[in-house]
Symmetry: C2
Subunit: 345 residues, 2 copies
Amino acid sequence: MKIAKKDSINKKITLTDVADLAGVSAITVSRVINQPEKVSDALRTQVQKAIDSLGYIPNQHASSLASSRSRVIGVAIPSLSNIVFTDVLRGIYEVMGQAGYKVLLVDTHYSPLEEERMIRTLLSQSPEGLIITGGDQTKACQQFLQKARIPIVQIMELLPDPIDMNVGFSHTKAGYDVTAHLLAQGYERIGFIGARMDPRVQQRMQGYKSALEQAGKYEKNYIATTPEPSSVCAGGELFKSVMALTNGTLDAIFCANDDLALGALFEAQRMNINVPKDLAICGFNDTEAAAYVNPSLTSVYVGRYEMGVKAAEMIIRVLEEHDIESKHVDMGYIIRERASTQRLA
Amino acid sequence: MKIAKKDSINKKITLTDVADLAGVSAITVSRVINQPEKVSDALRTQVQKAIDSLGYIPNQHASSLASSRSRVIGVAIPSLSNIVFTDVLRGIYEVMGQAGYKVLLVDTHYSPLEEERMIRTLLSQSPEGLIITGGDQTKACQQFLQKARIPIVQIMELLPDPIDMNVGFSHTKAGYDVTAHLLAQGYERIGFIGARMDPRVQQRMQGYKSALEQAGKYEKNYIATTPEPSSVCAGGELFKSVMALTNGTLDAIFCANDDLALGALFEAQRMNINVPKDLAICGFNDTEAAAYVNPSLTSVYVGRYEMGVKAAEMIIRVLEEHDIESKHVDMGYIIRERASTQRLA
DNA sequence: TTGTATGCGTTATCAG
DNA sequence: CTGATAACGCATACAA
């Protein structure tokens, strides 16, 4: 037995309901919502009244199906607990929100396999564009990414062979530059600590190595890393490890990010090691705490929010069939010199 | 003129394409995907082969439309740059991901009006459940939230009159307890600094006030706040303000969160104020940096990840028509006493 | 400016 | 276990 067509309590309100109430056809209601300028003032207000009084909310699924426009952008990031990605996300949300796109976000947990599954999920929502992290996708993933035929931006790092568009900066170069800077400051025994060891951290470490090797100052035991996530605590532990490994002979440490750097600094203070007199500490990402701690930490600024904005804008421009200046954008970075790497005369 | 039906390059692959290739009907393919146990082994593998070879990805919009099950959960949080919310998010994503739900996330920028708009957006995606922050919704928003007839969890705070379900803790009580603790430690002139001043910070401040008033130690100029976002920097500034206001007579400060507390601590160090000898500092949220800085900061632990998990689980239980123990859950909190509020003998 | 017919890709319902 | 048919709610194409 069917329930009464109109007044049944649970029934969701549809375009047709609104049309009936307003005494127009469904398509007119549709127009009032999507192209109001194509409807006469009289009808428009009349329909709008019906919409309001019924509390009508359009069904996006039906809309997407009919129009093959989902207004959804998929975003895949490796972690929600890393400020690096949430900053980028903010930029993406800002731009996409303004432009009327919904963001469907997935967390890949730094795993290409998980990423493949998650991107499948994204694709099943018929996103009009995709923003994904790095270039570490599985073969299978790359394949259906190609087939998707939608604009895709790979963010965070500079990729040699992007799937489509690319916004990021060179972590290798940044690692190199930081180390070179430390060398230029007169530091000679420069250690490195890193955690998680995702591709980008590896690249920074590679840059560090190159710089030291080039200067003839590279030593294997200058490095301590862990596959565990980054944290202040891990920074302290890694710091102790590398100091032990080197019998405390290091005079500088390059930390793969600011959390580690804070941990190293706090631990150094507990060990009564004077920073920067006895030891220089350099972080990465230029987070707020690093800038305000005593002594303030030298770090590497990266325009993360701006990177998110840029990626989002590129997608939108392509979707609106505008040209884009370039499919590959280097956001660069800036080494922020602070007290922690400044020898006291 | 129509393009060739099958091989046209841009055509997306549909259920029918797979059915044709496998030599079965569309509904069988649908079953292979959604209820594999209802299809014979032979057909199932045959269909699966077709799916793989075509790289078929189901269209969720069509599926949602036909089944009125979207497998989407909407989440609204006030900010993406506050670790408090990203921690909760992690919990939500973890559980929802496992259970096969997509999460549609929106950022309300701490604005009820924006929240109303954003929740409209969420609703247009026919989510099966909603997780929203706090109880500060507009009247209009509350109304269509009611009409949505889906499970809704309001998180972060304990609400007197929740729309549906509620998971959180009492910020008022927490603020009170922290202050009482400080009093019990023998501190007498206890200041408060807060930023953003969203409802939850206001509640903490209210608790602080109550405790001081009750002890007869409340003074208006013990308080410095700003509507600006919280940050380490803001913490330093507010600290300077409140110290100026009170001519440096405070012997303790309760900071509305750990960022502010770190800022206050760093600033105190620069001013050569000894913490905790001259001044106690207490934070809120028990973040990692607060626990590892020197001296370690007393703070209030809150199970944020667990709160996200709980909220997600409640939604899922309701959706799967299980009973839930209670619609209202108090997650509680724990005051973590550390060096920053311990007078040296 | 407004309306009619049709189809988007999938699933519910009911038959076989 | 498998299939035919009719929705789901909306937008496109075309007509009026």
